[in-house]
Symmetry: C2
Subunit: 259 residues, 2 copies
């Protein structure tokens, strides 16, 4: 495999740093190529603005969609954005390592998504007509590549269970899994989650290490989350509503979109 | 009212900029006090790191929880963080104006949350014992204040409907409404959502303006989302799972947590 690890934590000696380091040594030890985007170490610029689009932005009113698309097409994007897109095209597998902060990714990682996933690269790709609503959700620039989240969560697992007050972790991650990763074509593997990270000591970390190594070594054999493809009959176009009767009995909301 | 508007868009002449300006003039015209945190204009620092905690961070391994809490308690937080916390304490109503990017808020706004919502200010507040799991979800530092999201969405409303491919907009916003706003005590009002913002022209904006003014002028009379309070019998402690039988028939996931 060619693995890109996108890593977002301000402290190298953190649990997230340890999991990232373990991923590098484990994957390289198994003969894979690994590259790391260490967003804090790279001093990654988090906020999207006109500077990202170089000469393509021009003096007129900024349109994030049009200007990012033009900058991508014309090759005037910021060098840091183009470099990350190139890493994504190089990789066949992308691992995201981050702490869950306020129920989603840290700002610096969201800023990686906002800036790297530009129009014409990650969205606004493919034909839009009566039977095909763009190459997305099962098709797209990153189709054929696999992605997985590895995240630490301060709270305890029951708080994120079916009846837990925070909501089920799978539902909290759906906007990332489906909306960010699956949208531009990535195949999404089930996440690796470490609960109770605020109270993690060395004794507790031992089993976590072993579980993480096991997940990493079977990455290629892991079944993905079976999200439905957009353009192959399951959805009405252009409403993009799931056709009646396809769901499991009682299913609703996010769960409609996996088979 | 004393209204704080937290606004996140890189282009002042954008639809978001127009909605923010309209909120200011409408609310001031109705006799309310308004302050605006224009995150792009303020060049808001998006990424949380040790610099946020001043002398409280120290040379040891950074702990986001402990170091942010110590910096808050000792008064060594960055001035920009302290200023935003002071604005929150001044306000009785907080409006967030932003575009939905990749199914959640832009990185710069997430960075406002990550940095301003520090330990001992927004979480880690109150007693933890057998009957009370901290002051949160119905109690907390910001209890008694109201909050509302106002957001623009590039896609069309059916895509965000009950069977829409993106998932229902209420579910996509639950991690913000419940996890970010309700957690530290805010009362959460239903959001103001503008769909199809990518195709918005002046003709289409007319009715939107009228709807936004109407929502703003009845802010004080708007019923909030009826999220369940954590410490008043609905949840088992410490599992924080909803007690059996409290839900509406067939309800599950996020919807369990509103009455």
């Amino acid at each position: 495999m060619k693995v890109l690890i996108v890593y977002a934590h301000p402290e190298p000696r953190s649990l997230n740093g340890a999991l990232k380091d373990l991923a590098v040594t484990t994957l390289e030890g198994a003969g894979h190529e690994v590259r790391v985007s260490d967003l804090y170490a790279m001093r990654w610029k988090s906020h999207l603005d006109a500077e990202d689009f170089g000469a393509s932005a021009g003096p007129d009113r900024l349109s994030v969609v049009k200007d990012s698309g033009r900058a991508f097409t014309e090759g005037t994007q910021s060098a840091d954005i183009a470099a990350e897109q190139a890493k994504l095209m190089w990789a066949d597998t992308i691992v995201f390592q981050f702490p869950l902060w306020w129920y989603t990714m840290p700002a610096i990682l969201k800023g990686w998504v906002d800036r790297v996933f530009s129009y014409r690269f990650a969205y606004g790709v493919g034909v839009h007509d009566e039977t095909h609503y763009g190459d997305r959700f099962g098709e797209g620039t990153l189709a054929g590549k696999r992605a997985m989240l590895s995240l630490t969560i301060g709270g305890m697992e029951p708080h994120y269970s079916d009846r837990g007050i925070n909501g089920p972790i799978d539902d909290l991650l759906f906007p990332i899994h489906h909306g960010i990763l699956y949208y531009p074509g990535l195949t999404v593997l089930p996440p690796f989650t470490v609960f109770g990270s605020e109270w993690m000591d060395d004794d507790a970390f031992g089993p976590i290490r072993a579980q993480w190594v096991e997940r990493l070594l079977k990455l290629e054999a892991t079944d993905p989350i079976p999200f439905r493809r957009q353009n192959f009959g399951d959805y009405e176009i252009p409403s993009l509503r799931l056709r009646p009767g396809l769901e499991r009995p009682g299913a609703k909301g996010f769960e409609l979109h996996a088979e």
